[in-house]
Symmetry: C2
Subunit: 511 residues, 2 copies
């Protein structure tokens, strides 16, 4: 309850979605107020208030007794110059933490609770610990579907919302987990060539060897402003850009930054995350791709069906036309894993190259076909054939070239990394299993996606015959350290199983 | 997966139970490894390994590109001099986080899971976010009583354990929440004067206006080493020291540091916390005091009974003789709240002063009597009378003087703060309610316990008649800012209700 003031000082530490204040241990305010480490303090400058977690500093070179150090995020938020006087006070936890505690106690929250929580998170009033508490309390089976709807709506309302002023704005989203699954780079040009609006925003890799934005970046710029994106979409009917520049559902980004290091993965939060982002991006019609397989995110058909119902329940109530496709997630899609290798696969499909990976082509046509059937003028069941015609006629390829040009083409070098190592079969047989996790891990450790030319190129897929000593896949890397670790990892566990044909797990559904 | 090295540098920031590593954004390792903010990294120096959360630094004055900055805790843990070369590597989350995730998913954990989690927490492998996740996942009704037993055992085994080499080591503990409740300072001298061993360790205030250690510190030193404590206990049969110096159940301290700012308060964690600490301190016989009242931690008798069963279940299985006393928690105990004012109350009781607060005396005698009945030579039902005889004969007072002398007497100044303000009744009637929370808050904001002379002195208790304008209590403070805020708070809400005699809530049990 002090009314004393301190001079603010910018501390060049990026504390990533958490405001941190640094007070010298000898600071009179620290001593008098009985602040405790990890206390939250309230900082006020000319009516602007900020909550920050307190770190105590024993080094005058970092912050002196009369100063208040602020981490980069906190300093930028207050938008005042160094030396400005700030008032420091005890801070209560954000009010909405009461709702989080009620949730921890097993109560049901309502729309107002979720709105308050989202608002406090966007206003950076939550510490990382408080966000972790919220995520665990609302994780797994702790939200019923009405609460999930409230959460999604509050996340959607936490940021800006795009409006394309068209009745049909198509989009697709895969829940992830399948390496090489670059269908968006085929679906977008096909659907846009059909004339439908498909302003696709994609993510960069978080834990995977490449995100669509990473792979697309080989071909063109992806880091466009919302205005640039809007111009391109109006001209080409589609785009393939990174979604990070628009302020869409910002709560989602903040929560993901905490969720990821915790390794928490809740179905409810996934549904809220995907739908809030898509609705904020202005989508009206959405296909969700849920791959199912033993090393996919969703392992059993019953889980996939439960997830589908959740998507449908929330989507219907938030006025998005949503269809779920459950797909074959038993192995990677295509052959290349890593930005440059994936571009090669995509270009082969677009060019109708007979060498093009059949599974990537097939899956992309199915997804594009389902989206094309959102068009009221298309007869049910005709979407696939239309998509195939667009692809085979070269119109998809032409559309992709136009999109690349509009976004700003990059000079293309599709040569993979200069270090390479073939991983070979240790027996005769057929490929009975390919582990998505292990394959992704090898590609990632080889350097993907930071290192665009790194990755893994698969020579064999499920059911293929192999003889002892024959190469299953090749590792590519640019840097010796990465190369060494990736080859070592692949020697320990290649991710491939070789056995008899009968051992191949059949797809859980006729895809 | 790097094998590169960086020079370590001590960063004078106290990150409180979390290891933080600071890497310059331009550091080649940061760039090459694709570390992300909040990533965990593994730091190795000559075989000593440490996990730390990554903060990215944009200021070469704090940490240069070739350096690895370490927060104080991390630097001290590694025990190497500045400039020593360290290897930095990606770190997986601690293995036991798998168990935390299983718990989040609703599974039951076993003893080995809790042992692994405790071990990883003590070894500082958990980030604050991960601890928050553990606390929420195991909070409230999420642990069954067997899991609570496992948790308690693993916390107990996380640190050292004292052994007094006597068959009966008595202790008492109150679950807290009642201001002025300084019974330990009466129970210890009475029980020790009876000849029973009662080596009492107490806490300092966390959120209350005073802990027993804060109040005892007015009279003597409390900051003793385990060896000093041991010598005093052998000589005097009792002591009243701060429990923070012995490394007892260290996991408990670490978790409390996260629990407190989150405001999470789970019954299961309270049971595990209290029993692990008491068992580690070598107690064999324990009285637990559970105050019940509308503004106590436990509000309903059914909650108190459920909590009692939990204490009994875990205590019986960990071989501690444990009895629970459910007590009257409708109002503060005694009259003074804050270190100096509480000492006055305690000394009045010890001196058999007719002005001494009757409730403090009565409750202390009841608790001491129950402990004395642990003595096999004492007949059931005789404990209270024995305790009273010890008090009235002056033997308790003499024992207390000996304990003070043994611990190192302080110069005593019982003058309360120089600023004072009486809070008066706004109508005639009787006191029908005193809010423990509000009373504690006023005393705390007045400066207690940092400011030993600050606090609140109650003139009226439940059932007392008051006339309009008569003082209900007096606020004491040393500093004008504290005084101003405390009086303002009391003017808004004094915590007292005045009404008719029939409105007084009767005690929930005949205490």
């Amino acid at each position: 309850m002090s009314i004393d003031t301190l001079k603010i000082r910018r501390i060049g530490i990026d504390t990533y979605h958490e405001n941190v204040a640094y007070l010298n241990r000898e600071c009179s305010i620290y001593r008098a107020e009985g602040f405790q480490a990890l206390s939250k303090i309230q900082i006020s400058i000319n009516g602007t208030r900020l909550l920050a977690v307190l770190n105590v500093v024993d080094d005058d070179a970092i912050v002196q007794p009369g100063e208040l150090g602020l981490s980069l995020q906190a300093f930028n938020y207050l938008n005042a110059s160094e030396g400005t006087l700030a008032t420091v006070d005890h801070a209560e936890a954000p009010k909405s933490m009461d709702a989080v505690r009620r949730k921890i106690n097993g109560e049901r929250l309502d729309q107002a609770d979720f709105d308050d929580i989202s608002h406090d998170i966007v206003e950076t009033r939550y510490s990382k610990m408080e966000m972790a508490a919220f995520l665990v309390a609302t994780g797994q089976n702790n939200l019923d579907r009405d609460e999930l709807l409230y959460l999604t709506r509050s996340m959607l309302n936490s940021g800006e919302r795009m409006d394309w002023h068209e009745p049909l704005v198509a989009d697709k989203h895969c829940i992830g987990g399948i390496p090489g699954n670059r269908t968006s780079m085929l679906v977008v040009p096909i659907v846009a060539a059909h004339g439908m609006l498909i302003p696709k925003t994609s993510s960069r890799a978080i834990t995977s060897p490449s995100g669509t934005a990473d792979t697309m970046e080989i071909l063109s710029k992806v880091n466009l402003t919302p205005d640039q994106m809007s111009d391109i979409v109006r001209q080409e009917r589609g785009c393939l850009v990174w979604g990070g520049t628009a302020k869409l559902a910002p709560v989602d980004d903040i929560l993901i930054a905490v969720e990821r290091p915790l390794g928490i993965d809740s179905q409810g939060q996934m549904v809220a995350s995907i739908l809030s982002k898509k609705l904020a991006a202005g989508s009206t019609h959405l296909i969700i791709d849920i791959p199912v397989g033993p090393t996919a995110k969703v392992r059993h058909m019953r889980q996939a069906l439960a997830l589908r119902k959740l998507f449908e329940f929330v989507g219907d109530r938030l006025n998005i036309h949503l269809e779920v496709m459950i797909t074959d997630g038993r192995q990677p899609i295509g052959l290349g894993i890593g930005p440059v290798l994936e571009v090669r696969d995509v270009m082969q499909v677009l060019n109708n190259d007979p060498e093009a990976p059949a599974d990537l082509r097939q899956k992309s046509l199915q997804l594009a076909g389902r989206i094309i059937e959102f068009d009221p003028d298309v007869r049910g069941g005709q979407g696939y054939a239309i998509a195939r015609d667009i692809l085979e006629s070269g119109r998809a390829c032409a559309k992709m070239k136009n999109i690349i040009k509009a976004q700003g083409a990059n000079e293309i070098d599709l040569q993979p990394g200069k270090l390479s190592y073939p991983v070979c079969a240790d027996r005769d047989g057929v490929v009975t299993h390919i582990d998505n996790f292990q394959t992704a891990k090898i590609a990632r450790i080889a350097g993907a996606p930071m290192d665009k030319k790194a990755g893994v190129d698969l020579f064999k897929k499920l059911g293929d015959k192999v003889t002892k000593g024959e190469a299953l896949f090749q590792i590519y890397a640019e840097f010796p350290a990465d190369f060494k670790f990736a080859t070592k990892l692949a020697q320990q566990n290649s991710g491939y199983s070789i056995g008899e044909k009968e051992q191949i797990l059949q797809p859980l559904i006729a895809f």
